[in-house]
Subunit: 485 residues, 2 copies
């Protein structure tokens, strides 16, 4: 193995050291690097292209469902944060403070936005006067900072992260709740259709809601190491924020009324879930729809047939480009085919097309899937349609594997030792009847750092047993315990 | 005039109070609002849509010419800024400093990025090893903060602003210079083709270069009030940054070499130039290609024909939408046509289609241009093509008017009193032979706050006279004096 090859390959194993393996995949697939300040990362072009894929997909859906993009200041005066007391309490320890501008100390310090309710809601209040101005639906793509002192994990745990935050106001609770569900549907759709990750939908338990929210809903994705990822949250905020920031309007009867608001956010953690779910010991694995490069064409020649193989390969790449496929032709002279295969596998290109003298002679292509190496010989004609078929197959493999992992890893337990034992042995989700008391979560948390990641969306759903799986008191709902990112 | 109408209309006059008029247009056309902290604004959906138009146009061009988007931290350690001494000196007084994270004081304070050379170049240095890794072209869409204590003017003067910053590394000066020119071409193309604003290209005088740059090139646009706007800058940085941040590579002869770098940026000031150039005493005027709404269809009915007029108008709007035209059907019951005309004129919709019973009967449309109210009766068929023709006409009117303003306002002067008198009387650009000494600019600046906004791109171009127009010493080039935003 040459120096180059050693450097190229993933040395850690996903099964045995998932944390180190993840960090290695992220860096060697050139998705992100660690910044010199703890908690910050640099998103490299191949990683940023994934985020652009998420943006393109969601932004189109948001706009079709009435949301408009806007941009609010990155810095928020401390007095604004203080107007909603739950917000202050929820974010106070996590805020990065700007205290000086140039050589002057500021009269009032400014927070780098940890989330923007406190600056957006007052403006919504200015812009909304009558029921005709509602619903008002704003969205912002931006970065936020939450100054948490934890180990950096690219896309999962970073002090600064990229996200979108939606903020809407409505006339009624029903409309605001519909909005909350529309956004959760869109998040679910992103995970399922684009990222090939099945998710579960639910509510956060009351003690883990967004500060000040009436209800926080979530989509949760199960990682291969048995931990849950909160994939995106959509909050019905009730009227609390509208009251705090004076978001009122004149209703149809000319009476003053208080709006119902929502907010909803999805961050680049979606990329963390994507990378961790599908990738393997050879590197990054990526579903075709969001892959920065969807196809790599690798010509395999010797001195006698170099020109004809290259010509043929160029023709294939040109046809794919004309069919709007993101294609790379790897015609580097200084690398052999084996090296190229490894490199593009590491980088997560879902479909490889190999072209040697046999393919040229028979007017065919050899199509190879990432991650399993399954290959097929296809005709040269209609190469655009051919690769689309293979994209569907690769997507189905990835989705089905993740779905199987999820389905096998939702278990039930009815007492503390069973909850602890099941999570300890298998990871995944453990459903248990729950009395609603945070103290019962604390018991589990202290033992194995698992928490209640969700409860069922339907508040009227009967719990799976009558007695709380931890304390034995009367159960009011079913809790899903899991370790989580 | 009703209360609503008074509130809707622009009360200031562009000719007599351009500053107040501009602020009123920006707010009443719902493009932006002032934030509570001086120097910050809130970009409303109609203003942000303009920025998305700029992004879409430039991003496609950037990607076609080899640039890749990435994302670097918003906060930069002070020690990074200090590695390039010109950068420190150039930005030190304008930096917003984060000094606290949560309740802790940071060991090293962090700057909210004023520009990102100091954090991007070290990573480029890590990523570039061999000449095969060059050219490397990165671009970032983000916000930056420069803490200048000046009066807030939306999109022109704000402490936080949105921009893109490109950063590239090359093997040779020639390649880096070509890159510098490619980006300037793209900026010029944005102004000319999308924003309908002619620009002049040139170099900044040495004392006004980007801190640390070898050469700063600029596109300058002339506003109707006679002031120049620096529309976008593209810098050839030479090898200074590469040396400071150790951006070296192994060349084809296996020797270590220092890269040549460029950076180039365009901010939302482009939107300020757009709004100020074309708008009038009725409100915002916007070229069709970038208009948030390109066409408004206004049905004009009475009780007898309401249904048929509305049906016909809906059909027209549907056809336009199918033809990918951004169209709004204003079928509000509670507003009369006159009110609607005023509102959409204020908001800058370039083409209005009026549909009354006559249009329905004759299967026609009345098409009205913003800004001049010129109208034409057109057939109902192929409405998509019809409006595209009118878009071209509206664009040509706007561009031609701006071009005429520019051509009439480049004058020559050969002595101090003439420079002062010409700018004082007419505004615009005054070309004068210049000795190259900043002191001569200072003489003019102190009298009438005009400065040298550019010198010719071609360093070998002969000055228009032998003696400096200010001091009379030997002239080395031609300076373009103007007041500027």
């Amino acid at each position: 193995m040459s120096d180059d090859e050693q450097e190229l390959g993933i040395t850690e194993r996903k099964e045995y050291s998932p944390g180190e393996w993840y960090a290695e995949v992220v860096q060697k697939a050139e998705l992100a690097d660690y910044a010199p300040m703890g908690g910050f990362i640099v998103t490299r072009p191949r990683g940023y292209a994934l985020w652009e894929g998420v943006q393109d997909h969601l932004d189109e859906k948001f706009k079709k469902t009435g949301a408009q993009n806007a941009y609010f200041p990155a810095l928020i005066p401390e007095s604004f944060l203080e107007r909603e007391s739950d917000i202050v309490e929820g974010f106070d320890p996590e805020v990065a403070w700007v205290t000086h501008g140039g050589h002057e100390e500021l009269e009032e310090r400014l927070a780098f936005r940890p989330t923007s309710e406190s600056i957006i809601t007052p403006f919504m209040s200015d812009w909304v006067r009558s029921h005709r101005d509602l619903p008002l639906r704003l969205n912002q793509w931006c970065s936020v900072i939450r100054w948490e002192a934890t180990e950096t994990k690219p896309f999962f745990r970073t002090k600064e992260f990229l996200w979108q935050e939606g903020h809407t106001a409505h006339e009624s609770e029903d409309e605001a709740w519909d909005e909350t569900m529309t956004r959760l549907d869109q998040y679910e759709n992103l995970y399922e259709d684009v990222l090939a990750i099945p998710v579960m939908r639910g509510r956060k338990p009351p003690h883990d809601k967004f500060p000040g929210a009436d209800t926080t809903t979530t989509v949760e994705a199960l990682m291969p190491d048995g931990k849950s990822v909160q994939g995106g949250t959509s909050h019905y905020l009730g009227q609390g924020f509208a009251e705090a920031y004076d978001l009122t309007y004149t209703d149809e009867d000319e009476e003053e009324a208080v709006a119902h608001t929502t907010s909803w956010g999805l961050s680049w953690r979606a990329l963390g879930a994507l990378i961790m779910t599908h990738s393997d010991d050879q590197g990054f694995v990526c579903p075709p729809r969001i892959a920065p490069e969807q196809v790599v064409v690798v010509p395999i020649w010797n001195e006698d047939n170099r020109e004809e193989v290259l010509d043929y390969a160029e023709g294939v790449a040109d046809d794919l480009e004309a069919a709007d496929v993101r294609v790379e032709l790897d015609d580097r002279d200084e690398r052999n085919p084996g090296f190229k295969f490894n490199e593009w596998e590491l980088k997560g290109v879902p479909v490889r097309i190999e072209i040697g003298p046999n393919e040229v002679e028979d007017e065919e292509l050899t199509v190879v899937h990432r991650p399993d190496g399954e290959n097929a010989v296809e005709g040269r004609e209609n190469v655009g349609e051919t690769v689309e078929d293979h994209f569907d197959k690769v997507y189905a493999k990835l989705y089905d594997a993740a779905k199987e992992n999820l389905e096998e890893n939702v278990r039930e337990a009815y007492e503390t030792s069973q909850i602890l034992g099941t999570i300890g042995q298998h990871g995944g989700y453990v459903k248990t009847p729950w009395c609603g008391d945070q103290a019962c979560e604390q018991v589990i948390k202290e033992e194995i750092a698992a928490e209640i990641v969700m409860v069922p969306m339907d508040r009227d759903e009967e719990p799976i047993g009558d007695e709380c799986g931890v304390c034995g008191d009367e159960a009011c709902e079913t809790a899903y315990f899991a370790k989580s990112y």
